[in-house]
């Protein structure tokens, strides 16, 4: 077969020498690992830094709906990382800074997908391309093939600077201060492999935005972000730090309200140094920069960055890109041309143009969005798209965080022809940026940490919504839906109008896939605020949730009221009432479809969830235990609603015990689960020491546990008392979460 050596001989001369060498080194490490001559952990870190991730089932186990079964991979016990079998198919992530890609690059990725993957290119929510089901031995060849056309997988994963995202309409947008593209590009090149960015405890995500008001850059949810501003005719940026999603979403804090462009790279370098030096290293779950910012406060952090900046040795690269950046200009393929109003239009064009086309700042040009279902396109479509781009727009292609592709600088006169060409390759779907354009992370399809099927749900919603008449309402059509397979939030559900993240509930002894509903996140203003969690609903009822929420909003909103305002007006309680009947689940024997996830056929199980190296944060043991506690608390609510007071009381108590036990086990790994031991240990370690206390509530959220434990189960439970206990249980679990967050901040700065 065509070997890696064949490709190396052919492609190495075409690559930048440094890159060719790096890939050679990775290949050598791969061979050493195959011979078991380097440690699996060392190899795992190397592999991740080269963008090669594990996928679901890579520990060699898979639940087939009846039980967990061994996958007998041919390489036997050889691993490519801890609990990661050598032969398990993996994912390769290709970085596209600011989503920029040329037709030639797209062709090469298409070829690589076809020859080394499953023929699908998947656009991610951070403008990367991912290939799935790639054999580890094949990753080297893909790296070489894409490296020969100037793209890389380097640091696409692992604890480093990930892809740098940016507005896909930068340079053609009406509201931007200036085109951020060359600045994002310069930072990407400067920080790639930079020695000051090799010692992070966790990943570091950077975003650029051309203005503050629109969504495109999503700066507020990034570890580090830059928003363009011009002051006194000088280009510069406001810089933001410490944003993030995941289990503890935080909005970024203002680091500097303005720095000139000449200071952009040294400040980023100084931030990297401070984060590398003070960020948490041991506990990956607390190692993102947001925890360091929380601990230190942004003012102290800024002082450290200032001090670091002052002693940085000068680097010519800080400013050598500036003349080129100032002079940066896109290179349209064609001259602008207005559309001929008398020209006959193809069928379907008007609707497509309404949702997928926006006029550029440059008269006579438009941006056309190619809406990709679930971010997927085939190699054949990718080639077709690159042909279309060559004809109409040249190199002006970008991927988007909404998992689409935009073609920029389409002469207006050519839009109908472009539409027809896209229709010819099955890529002319209308609905970009509407409720039909659903974003979803990989979820249980391929991600080790997936809890529920985000792609399955997104596909189902898309199909149903496309056929639903109610989405024609203007107030509904513009809403955004985003789905994550778990709380790590790669689907960016926090900033959706209607967001979902997967979780699991144990009901009557069966695991039932659920999604937590998160409403009212703000997409605009660079992901300006996060949504409100309003409760978990069985996966199979989520389409009903969407219909109920959207139609109620359309019919009951006040004149001019936004979705976010409506959600805020209703509040958690009223929304809870609105969705209450959708929490019900038929019995297992009555309707088994509720016990099977979307786009799956196996009885649902969480047995396939792995620990480790996914696109998101690593699940800590505490979080897993707390998830169980939440599941039990949910069951208590269900029992309460069913009028089974004794069971609701018992489940509430057990949920509090689980949460307390989760904390105890952070300090005593093998702590007994006996209720007396749990309560005693929790009280001694966390309550009596006041460590559990917060500034406003002291330790009051723990008291219901002590009282219920001391008094035992009521002989004749009172409905009101049990309802209070169920509510207090949720507050106790929330307080444990908060304790974890506080701890995270404290630990973050202690290293």
């Amino acid at each position: 077969m065509s070997s890696r050596a064949d490709w190396r001989d052919r492609l190495n001369p075409q690559m930048e020498p440094g890159l060719a060498e790096e890939i050679d080194v990775f290949e050598a490490q791969l061979e050493l690992r195959q011979q078991d001559r380097i440690d699996e952990r060392v190899f795992a870190e190397t592999r991740l830094r080269r963008g090669a991730y594990g996928q679901r089932y890579d520990n060699g186990l898979r639940h087939d709906g009846t039980g967990q079964k061994q996958l007998p991979y041919p390489a036997g016990r050889l691993t490519k990382g801890p609990e990661t079998m050598w032969d398990a198919p993996g994912m390769l992530r290709i970085k596209l800074p600011y989503g920029g890609i040329t037709p030639d690059q797209l062709d090469v990725i298409a070829e690589s997908a076809e020859e080394h993957s499953d023929g699908i290119l998947h656009i991610t929510t951070r403008q990367d391309v991912q290939l799935h089901f790639v054999h580890l031995e094949d990753t080297v060849t893909v790296m070489r093939r894409i490296g020969a056309v100037g793209i890389t997988t380097r640091e696409a994963c692992g604890n480093g600077v990930r892809n740098i995202t940016g507005c896909p309409v930068a340079g053609v947008c009406h509201t931007e201060a200036f085109d951020v593209t060359p600045y994002a590009d310069a930072m990407f090149r400067f920080l790639l492999g930079h020695p000051d960015c090799q010692d992070f405890g966790r990943k570091f995500k950077i975003a650029f935005s051309g203005c503050a008001g629109e969504a495109c850059g999503l700066v507020m949810m990034h570890d580090f972000g830059a928003i363009a501003q011009v002051r006194d005719g000088v280009r510069g940026f406001s810089l933001w730090v410490g944003g993030g999603l995941g289990t503890t979403p935080q909005q970024a804090k203002l680091l500097y309200d303005w720095v000139p462009a000449s200071d952009l790279l040294p400040v980023a370098q100084a931030v990297g140094r401070v984060f590398g030096r003070l960020g948490e290293k041991k506990n990956r779950n607390r190692a993102r920069i947001k925890f360091l910012i929380t601990k230190l406060g942004v003012d102290e952090f800024r002082g450290l960055v200032d001090a670091e900046r002052a002693i940085l040795p000068h680097d010519d690269r800080w400013t050598s890109f500036l003349p080129g950046a100032e002079a940066w200009a896109d290179n349209p393929r064609k001259a602008p041309a207005p559309r001929d109003p008398s020209a006959e239009l193809p069928e379907g064009y008007a609707e497509w143009a309404r949702t997928n086309v926006q006029a550029q700042r440059q008269a006579g040009y438009s941006v056309a969005t190619v809406a990709l279902p679930l971010g997927d396109l085939t190699s054949e479509q990718a080639r077709g798209l690159s042909d279309i781009a060559r004809l109409h727009v040249g190199d002006n292609i970008r991927t988007t965080v909404e998992q689409n592709v935009v073609l920029r600088y389409v002469p207006d006169a050519e839009l109908p022809a472009l539409y027809q060409a896209l229709a010819g390759i099955g890529l002319a779907s209308a609905g970009a940026g509407t409720i039909l354009d659903i974003t979803a992370c990989p979820g249980t399809d391929t991600c080790k940490l997936g809890i529920s099927s985000s792609r399955g749900l997104a596909g189902e919603l898309r199909t149903r919504l496309a056929a639903a008449s109610y989405i024609g309402d203007a107030s509904i059509e513009g809403l955004r839906i985003k789905v994550s397979g778990c709380f790590n939030s790669c689907g960016q559900h926090h900033v959706a109008d209607i967001g979902f993240f997967g979780n699991n509930r144990k009901i009557n002894g069966y695991s039932v896939p659920h999604f937590q509903v998160v409403l009212g996140g703000r997409w605009r203003e660079n992901a300006g605020s996060y949504g409100m969690p309003v409760g978990a609903i069985p996966s199979k009822r989520i389409p009903e949730v969407v219909e109920k929420i959207t139609t109620t909003f359309a019919s009951e909103r006040h004149e001019g009221e936004t979705f976010q305002d409506w959600i805020a007006r209703l509040g958690k309680k009223e929304i809870g009432v609105l969705l209450a009947d959708l929490k019900a689940i038929p019995g297992y024997d009555e309707d088994r479809s509720f016990y099977v996830d979307w786009a799956d056929a196996r009885e649902y199980s969480v047995g396939d969830i792995g620990v480790g190296e996914c696109a998101g944060e690593v699940i800590s043991r505490t979080e897993l235990f707390l998830t169980e506690a939440e599941g039990t608390a949910f069951d208590a609510q269900v029992a309460l609603e069913d009028g089974d007071l004794a069971r609701a009381d018992d489940l509430s108590y057990r949920a509090m015990l689980q949460a307390a036990w989760a904390l105890v086990r952070t300090e005593q790994f093998d702590a007994s689960g006996d209720p007396d031991d749990v309560v005693r240990e929790f009280k001694q370690r966390f309550y009596d020491t006041e460590r559990f206390f917060d500034r406003f509530s002291g330790g009051k959220f723990a008291r219901p546990l002590f009282v219920r434990h001391a008094e035992g189960a009521p002989s004749d439970p009172d409905a009101e008392q049990v309802r209070i206990l169920a509510d207090e249980t949720q507050l106790f679990i929330d307080a444990v979460h908060q304790y974890e967050i506080r701890q995270a901040g404290a630990t973050g700065a202690s290293v």
Binding site: D118, G119, L377
Partner: protein, 198 residues
């Protein structure tokens, strides 16, 4: 240059490509994984791409092989892709891949929940997914066409069929062959297996 391609695929088109319900394959493929032994090699997972127009539909992902009811080119067919090195000459390798596609088609023919998944034996597409080994050029056809034709001979009354090269040079090397048509899947498989070293 190596002597053999990294990946080879074969696709037999569905007899009635008009009434395909791709999601119905999801439970079928999951059940194949659970049962084991339905198709050869290690089967790992089911990948659902039925939302992608003219895409790979629903795939049964394996370690050595992927199988799918594939819609590429706008025509549905049972596809098998060999992903790991095979044994034998190129002709034997192609025969092994074609045999695997027929075996998958045969297994699907036994699934009552997908009555539309029945292939015709009068046409097959063979793709060499390795541009380094065989770019999609007339020279490649000249060089490896005879070996592919020889592999298909058992499905064509023992004679190598004519091959029609498909697609331009940016596509992987692909040929389509019209076949005399074996009487049934079992006979076709038997003939092929005799000439393949799988």
């Amino acid at each position: 240059m190596s002597d053999f391609p990294a990946r080879i695929s074969a696709k037999f088109f569905l007899r009635d490509g008009g009434d395909v319900d791709a999601p119905a394959l999801i439970p079928v493929f999951h059940e194949w994984i659970r049962r084991g032994g339905v198709v050869s090699g290690l089967v790992i997972d089911v990948a659902d791409y039925h939302h992608v127009p003219d895409g790979p539909g629903v795939m049964l992902i394996g370690h050595e092989w992927d199988r799918a009811v594939d819609f590429t080119g706008g025509r549905a067919g049972v596809l098998s892709v060999s992903k790991r090195d095979l044994d034998g000459s190129l002709s034997e390798r192609v025969a092994a891949v074609v045999a695997d596609a027929l075996a998958a088609a045969s297994a699907l023919a036994g699934e009552p929940s997908v009555p539309w998944a029945r292939v015709g034996l009068d046409e097959v597409e063979v793709t060499i997914l390795d541009r380094l080994f065989a770019p999609n050029t007339p020279e490649s056809l000249e060089a490896i066409g005879p070996e592919i034709a020889a592999a298909l001979a058992p499905l064509n009354d023992g004679a190598g069929p004519g091959l029609e090269q498909v697609g331009d040079t940016r596509r992987p090397f692909k040929v389509r062959a019209s076949l005399a048509g074996a009487p049934d899947l079992a006979a076709a498989l038997e003939g092929l297996r005799a000439s393949a070293v799988a």
